[in-house]
Symmetry: D2
Subunit: 474 residues, 4 copies
C-alpha cells in the first residue's frame, strides 16, 4: 500500500530423526519468515517417501488451519515457503511438487534465475511443458533432465548448476533426502540450524531457527550443496568460490528481520551501524531522532546513540491494517498516511527532528509524513536514508518499481528534499552501506545503486506472440 | 452419500465470431453439465491468444462468483470442465493450461487413458515431470511431443492418438484454435452445436447446448478431430472407423441428463424404453409403479405406460441436501435414507408396488427404501432395475466400487432380493439394455456387465516405490 | 428468481425424555422444512433451563456446521425455524431468545399478526423497546406482560391470545416447558408427532416427522395451546372454536411438501385432485400432459389420470441453481428460463400439450416457457392453473407481489392467455379449489382469490416519522 | 494468548454538516480504536432519521468489507464501536439499535454499570425483556423509560443518570441528535474533536481524531452530557462534579494508545514518566534497558533516558500472529513465547539487562521471556513493572483474571522475582503511578491496586435459577 520495495521469498526445510508433526514446525517457521513473502505460502511434508503438499494465495494464517495441518500428517521432512510475487496466481505457489522418473521432488526457491528465458526455450524445444511462470518449475526441469544421467539427485543438482545463472537459495526434498542449495554468488541468505535431538533445519533467516528453538550452525556457503539423508549431512563444494560473492545489501537495510544474523552479521547491528554512519556523513543540529516504523527504527536508534541526540518515539503505526484494509477512495486519498501512521505530538512539538527511513521509493509517503510532522509542530525536519538512492533494476529477486516511478531516477537529491518538504536530506553513501555489516564470506551486490552487478544481467526476453496468464484471483 | 456409481467429467468449449463474455456462457453451460462431475470445475478463456484460467474444488456456484468471471474477462473462445474424481486435489482440476514450445494450450478431458502408466513412464525417461495425476497432463505431453515435429496442433493431436488408448472425449484450445477430439471407440459422448450468430459449441451433452440456445448440429464421431479456427470448421477423420465402437451404455441408463440426446438417441426415451422392456421381461401384477428419484423416474414412467398400471409419486427426495450436509453419526445412521427420501403414504398404502431404480450397488440403500415402503403400508414391493447387474470394473471413465462391495458380485439375484427385502427382483437383460437406444453410429460398451471390452484393458500398474499424493483438502 | 409467491416460515420443536443431541434432530428437521423458508434459519437448545441459540441468514447447510451443532450441545428440548422474509436482516432470524422476569424464553413463529402495529404502539407507550421488526418479538412482549400477573407461561400465552389477531402457528420454549400454539383461525398448519421412546415433536408439516422417524399423532387445533412438561402433554382449548376456521388453501396448492399431511389431508392427493378438477372444468383434446417442475407435477399427474391423456416429462429443471447463481445481465436476460428449465423435445415434438402449473404471478416466466415449448415443436399449448387467479393481498403470512405486478389484476383471462401465448388457459374455479382437500377441522381462507377474509384485515400502518432499518446484508 | 488484562470497549461518533459516506469515517476510526476491543465491532449510520447498523464478531477487517460499507450508505451521523468481552456472542455486538416510542435509538457504550443486576430486575418486573447480556441494552431501557415523561432525549438521559451507577462513556444517536455522555466519576475517557468543515467527532481516544484529520477540542467532562443537533453543540452539566473523579490509571499504563492524549495528558509521556519514576524507585547498575513489546517500550525508553543507561532493542515481536494462529499443543507448549517473541542476541549477550513491562498477570510469560534472555547470554536480568501489583477486581470495565490466577495475590514480590527468575524485581509504587500523568480534571481510580474504589462496588448478583446463554460461536 505504501510505496515500497519487495523481497521475493522465504524458504524453510526441516529433517527430524523420527516421524512427527513436522508440518506444525513448518507452520511456526513460516510465521517467522512471513515478512519475506506475503502473497502465498505452502508446506510439503514427506512421510516415508510420500510427499503431500498444500499451498495457496494468502498469509500463513489465511492459508493454514488445523484441519489442513492434520491432513498434511506426520513425517520426517518438511519444506515451507512464503512468497511475494507480482503475480498472485495460485499455480505459482510453492513448494512446487512434481513427479519425475525417480519419484516425487519438492522445491522451495528464493531468488531469480537470470537466464530463465533461454533455458525455458531450450527445454520447450525438447518437449517440456510449463504449468507456471515460476523459476522453481524451470529448476525442477533442469534437475530432472540431469537426473536421467546422474546417479543421485545431488549430482543432478550439481550438474544443473552449471547451466543456472542468477540468484537461487533453495531447499529441495526427494523421497529420502533434503538438500539445501545456494547459488555461487550467494545473492540470498540461507542458513543451517540444529536442535539437540538431531533435527536439522534450513531457513532463509536465523529468526526461523530461534522460533523453533534451534541453534544456528552456520550459513550455507555460496555455491554449496548440502545433503541431508539417513547418513547425516554432507556438503558438495565444487561450485563454491567459482564466482564473485554478491549478497544483496538490501537484506541488511530492509528485507531481513532485525533479529536475524545473515552470513555472520547481525541485521540489527547493521542498521544501528547505518545510523551511526549516516550521522557521520550528514550531521545536523537537532533535538530528537525518530525512525519511520518499522524498518527505520533501528537506524534511528543508531544515529541517536552516535550523535548523543535523544531517541524518541515520533510515529505510531497502526498494527491492524492488513491485506483486507479498504483504501480511501480518490477523494479521501490524502488521509491514507494519517490512517496508518500517527504523529506523537509530545515528541515532535517545537523540536528540530531527524527522521530516519530505509528508503525513498516514489516519495509520496515521505512527503505526507513530513506534512504530519510539520502540522504537529516540528520546527525542522531532517531526513536521513540508510542506503544510497536506488536507480537501477534488480535481476536477482527484488521487486523494485519501474524506473519512471523511482523518484531518485527523476530528481537530484536537493530536488527530492524540496519535493518531500524537508530542511535537509542525506542518503548513506555507497562506501557507507558497504561497511554496515562485516559478513564472513560475502561481498555485497550493490547493483541497484551502481548498475554494476556481479554477473551479466539477462537480455530482454523476446516478446511472445501468444502467452498464458495466471490470473490474479485474490 | 448414497451408494452409487460416478461419472468422471463433463467438457465444454465455445468459439464466438467476435469477442464477448464467453466465461459467462461457459458458466451457464457448466450448470447444465454439473451432474457429470461435482468435485471440481473450471473455465479457461482465450482472449486473442492469451489464455486465463480459473478452477477449483467445488460445485460451479462454490467456485465461481462475479468477481472471478469478470477477472477471466472477454474472449472469443472458452473451455469449461466439471470433474468427478476419487481425488479432490486442486492440482487435478481442469481445464489444464500449460505452455509448450508453440505457446499456451488448454485441455478439458472426459475419459480414462488405459495405457497411461506405460506412456507416463516413457515420458519420464525422456525428462518429463508431472504436476498432477490426471490424464489431461499426460495427453498434453503427448501432443506437445508430437508438436515438435508436426506442422500444426491438429496434426500433433492426430499423431498422439496413435499412442493413446482408452476413453477420451476432449476439447483443446490453442492460441488460435479450438479442437474437439473423440477416441476411436467413442466411449464418451461429445456433440456440436451452433447458434445463429455463428457461435460454435462443443459439449459432453446436448443439454448444455439448449441452455445456451444453440441448436444441436451433430455428434463428434468416434476417432474424429474437429478443428475450429478463423477459417471455420473442418474435420480430420483418419482415426474414424479404426476401432470397434463402444459408447458407454450407462450414459443412457444413469449418467446423462434425460433431456440430452446422445449420438442421436434421446436419453429420456431410452429410459422409458428400458422401463417398457423391464415390463416385458419381468411382468408382475401390481397397483402402482413408482421410481426412485431422480434417475429411476423415467424408467418407472415407461414401465407404467407399457403395463397400464398407474404411475405414482411414491418417494420424495429432499432437494436441499448437498455437499455440506452433516451425516448422522453411527448411532443415528439408520435415519439417513429417511432424511433424504420420504415415502408418500397416499400412493403406497395397501398397494402392490413396482419400484424402479437404475442400479443396485451395495444394496443398503435399496434395503432401507424397501423398509420405508413396508412401514408406509405397501402390501408387496417388486423391484425392477433398468440394466443388468454390473460385476466388472470399468477402465474407461466410470468410478465403480471395488468388487468386494458390489452386491451382485457376492450374491445371486434371489439372494439379493431376499437381502433387500423385496417380493420380486428383476434386472433388465443384456439383450434388453442393448436395445434401449438406437444410436447413429455407436455400438455399446457393456464391459461392466459382461467383462468383454472393446479394447484390451490395462495391465495393473507397477507399484511405485515412492509417490506423491495430492491431499484431499476440501 | 422466477416470479413466484413466498411462504413465510417453518417451525419445529422437540422434547426428549432424556438429554441428547437434540440440535442434530432439529438440524435434520430443518432440512425437511427448508422449502418453507430459505432466507434464514436457527436452532435453540434447552439444557436444564439454559437456552443456547444459533441462527443466521442463509440455508440450513450455510448456517450450520458440525462445530456449531457441537457448540449448541446437548439438551432435552430444541426449537428450530426456517424463515422467508422480505428483509434478510440477521436480527430477524429466529428462534428469538429473550430473558424476562421469569427467565429465558425462546419462540419460533410462522404467520403474521394483523394488529401488530397497534399492539407495538401500546407496548412502546409503556416503555418497550424493539430490536427487530419481527412479530416474534411482539408476541414475546405480549406473553411477558401477561406473565407478570399470570401464574404460568401457558396461562400467560392464553391471556396474550386475547389481544393477538392474525396468523400464528408457533412453538415456545421456557426453561422447563415446550408449548405449541395455533391461532383460532388456524391459518397455518402445525402438527404433533411422537416416537416410541417418548419423544414429542411439533412441526409445521408432517414431512419433518417422517424425517425423524416419528409418527403423526394429530394436528394442533385452531386456538389450541399444547403444553409439554415433565408431567407429559396437556391441552388448553379455551380459544378453540372461537373463530371461523381459515386454513390457507395455498398450503395445499403450493407451499407444503407433497408428502406432508395437513390437517388430515394429503397434500399430494390434494394436488392430484386439483388436476382432476381442472380437467373437468377445462377439458381439451391433447396428446400429452406435462407439469412445470416442481410444484405443477402432481396436478399434471392428476389431470393425466383423470383425462386418460398420457403423462409426460416435458420440462427438466436444473437442480444446481441456488442462491449464489449469477443471473444473466440485462443483455442476456432472455436466457434465464432456458438455463433453469430445459424442454424434453422427445415428449413435446408435434404434440398437443397440456401444461399444468400452480400459479401465474407476473406471467413472464410462463410466457418464456411457452416459447420454449413452441420452439421444441409443440403443436398446441394449453395451460391449466391449479387455483383461481389471485388478485388480493394476503395479511396472514404469504408474501405476494404488489397488485400492480400481478398479471391477473391487470388482465382478463383471455388477455393473459394471449400474453403468455397459449392456445387456451384454464384456472381452477373457487368452488374447485375448496374441494381439493377434505380436512378434519378447517375451512379454507381464500382471501387472496376473493378479498373476503375470516377476520378483519389490518388498517394501514401510520407512517413513522423516523424508523430504523435492518439492512439487507446477505 | 499471552496472559494479560483486557479493556472493554472503544466508542466513536461523528456528525457532519452534510450527508456523506460517514460509514467510511467510522471504519477508519475503528482501526484507530481496535486496540480497545478485538472481539467484535459495529457501525450504525443515520440517514435523515433512518438508522442502519451492521456489527459482528471479529476485528474491523474481518467484519467490514466494501459491500457492507456501501450497504450502510450515506448519512450525516454514524456511531462506531469496538468491543472486548468475555462473551463473543453476536447479540452483544454494538452499536445496539432499538426502536422505542420516539423512534430508533443507537448506543455505543464503554464501561460497566455496577448496579446493573438491581436495575435489570426492576425493569423485568415491569415487563421488560432482554435480548442480550450487555449493559447497553439496560441503558437503553433506562433512557426509554425516562423518555416517556421527559420532553427530550437529553433530558431522558439526564434522568436515567440518576439511577445508573458505575462506568459509562458512551455515544447515543437519535433520529436527529448525537449525544456523548460520561459518567460522573469519569472512569473511562471520552474526547471531542472538530474538523474545519464543521464535522464533530466523539471518540474514546484522541488517536481516532488524528486518523480522521480532526483537531482535539476538549474532553467530555465527568458527568457531562453533550448534545449535537442542527443547532450546534450544547452541554448539560448537572451531573458534573457530583462524584469523586476516578479515571482508570490503567488507561495510561496499558490500555490507551501512546499517541493518545487522555484528559489532557499524553499517554506516551505518562509511560516515559513511569519509566523515569521506576528508575528513581528501583535503581540498579546495568548495561542496557529493554522493553517488552509493545506496551513496555515507552517506559523502558523513559527509564533509559532517566538513568543514562543505553536503550536497546532486546525483543522482537512477531507481527503476523493474530486471532487464527494455531497454538502449539500441550507437548509443544514451551515454544509459544519463542514463536511470538525473539531475543535480539546482539543487544543482550554478556549484558546486565533491565527489562521493563507494564504488568505481571500470571507470571508464566515473564518467566519464559527471562529464560530466553538468559539463553541469549544475559548476565543479569532486572525486571521493572510500570505500575503496582494489582490484587483486586475491577468493577468498571477492565477484565482481570480471577484472584487465584493473579500471581501477586499468591506471592510476595521476592517470591515473584524468584519464580520468574530475575535478579531483581521492582514495581512502581502507588504514589508513583499517581504521578505519571497530570490530567486536567480527573483523579485516578486505583482500586485494582488498593481495593479502595470511588463508589460502592456491586453486591454479588443473585444466582439465577434459569438463564440464557449467548453461545461463543467464533
Amino acid at each position: 500500500m505504501f510505496d515500497s520495495i519487495h523481497e521475493e521469498c522465504g524458504v524453510f526445510g526441516i529433517r527430524t530423526p523420527e516421524k512427527r508433526r513436522v508440518a506444525s514446525s513448518a507452520y511456526y517457521a513460516l510465521y517467522a519468515l512471513q515478512h519475506r513473502g506475503q502473497e502465498s505460502c505452502g508446506i510439503a511434508v514427506n512421510n516415508n517417501g510420500i510427499i503431500r503438499c498444500y499451498s495457496d494465495v494468502g498469509l500463513v494464517p489465511d492459508v493454514f488451519n488445523e484441519r489442513i495441518l492434520n491432513e498434511l500428517g506426520e513425517g520426517t521432512m518438511a519444506l515451507g515457503h512464503t512468497r511475494y510475487s507480482g503475480s498472485s496466481a495460485r499455480a505459482n505457489c510453492q513448494p512446487l511438487v512434481v513427479r519425475h522418473v525417480k519419484g516425487p521432488m519438492a522445491i522451495a526457491h528464493n531468488g531469480a534465475i537470470s537466464n530463465a528465458s533461454k533455458l525455458k526455450r531450450e527445454l520447450e524445444l525438447n518437449g517440456a511443458i510449463f504449468h507456471t511462470t515460476s523459476d522453481a518449475e524451470l529448476i525442477s526441469y533442469m534437475i530432472t533432465a540431469a537426473r536421467l544421467t546422474e546417479p543421485s539427485i545431488e549430482q543432478a543438482i550439481e550438474k544443473a548448476m552449471h547451466s543456472l545463472e542468477g540468484a537461487y537459495s533453495m531447499v529441495i526434498m526427494s523421497p529420502r533426502k533434503m538438500i539445501a542449495v545456494r547459488d555461487p554468488n550467494g545473492f540470498r541468505p540461507l542458513c543451517i540450524g540444529k536442535k539437540d535431538d538431531g533435527t536439522v533445519i534450513f531457513a532463509s533467516e536465523t529468526c526461523a531457527l530461534n522460533t523453533l528453538g534451534a541453534k544456528w550452525e552456520r550459513d550455507v556457503e555460496p555455491g554449496e550443496i548440502i545433503v541431508l539423508d539417513e547418513n547425516g549431512m554432507h556438503s558438495i563444494t565444487t561450485h563454491c568460490n567459482t564466482k564473485e560473492h554478491g549478497l544483496c545489501v538490501f537484506e541488511f537495510v530492509y528485507f531481513a528481520r532485525p533479529d536475524s544474523v545473515v552470513d555472520g552479521a547481525s541485521v540489527h547491528a547493521a542498521r544501528m551501524k547505518a545510523g551511526e554512519l549516516l550521522w557521520k556523513e550528514h550531521p545536523v543540529e537537532a533535538d530528537v531522532v525518530i525512525g519511520v516504523p518499522d524498518s527505520g527504527l533501528d537506524a534511528a536508534l543508531g544515529l541517536a546513540h552516535a550523535s548523543g541526540i535523544p531517541y524518541g518515539v515520533g510515529l505510531i503505526k497502526n498494527r491492524y491494517i492488513g491485506r483486507t484494509f479498504i483504501q480511501p477512495t480518490q477523494g479521501e486519498r490524502e488521509d491514507l498516511v494519517r490512517i496508518k501512521l500517527n504523529v506523537l505530538g509530545e515528541t515532535i512539538k517545537d523540536k528540530r527532528v531527524i527522521m530516519v527511513d530505509d528508503s525513498i521509493v516514489r516519495g509520496t509517503t515521505s512527503a505526507n509524513i513530513v506534512k504530519l510532522l510539520r502540522a504537529a509542530g516540528a520546527k525542522e525536519v531532517h531526513m536521513r536514508i540508510s542506503c544510497p538512492p536506488f536507480v537501477n533494476p534488480c535481476y536477482f529477486g527484488t521487486d523494485i518499481d519501474s524506473k519512471d516511478k523511482l523518484i531518485a531516477c527523476r530528481l537530484t537529491i536537493p530536488e527530492i528534499a524540496k519535493q518531500i518538504g524537508v530542511d535537509s536530506l542525506g542518503y548513506l553513501s555507497l562506501e557507507g552501506v558497504k561497511q554496515i555489516a562485516k559478513t564472513d564470506k560475502c561481498k555485497f551486490c550493490t547493483g541497484c545503486f551502481t548498475g554494476e552487478y556481479p554477473i551479466p544481467t539477462p537480455e530482454p526476453a523476446l516478446p511472445d506472440r501468444y502467452n498464458f496468464e495466471l490470473p490474479d484471483l485474490r
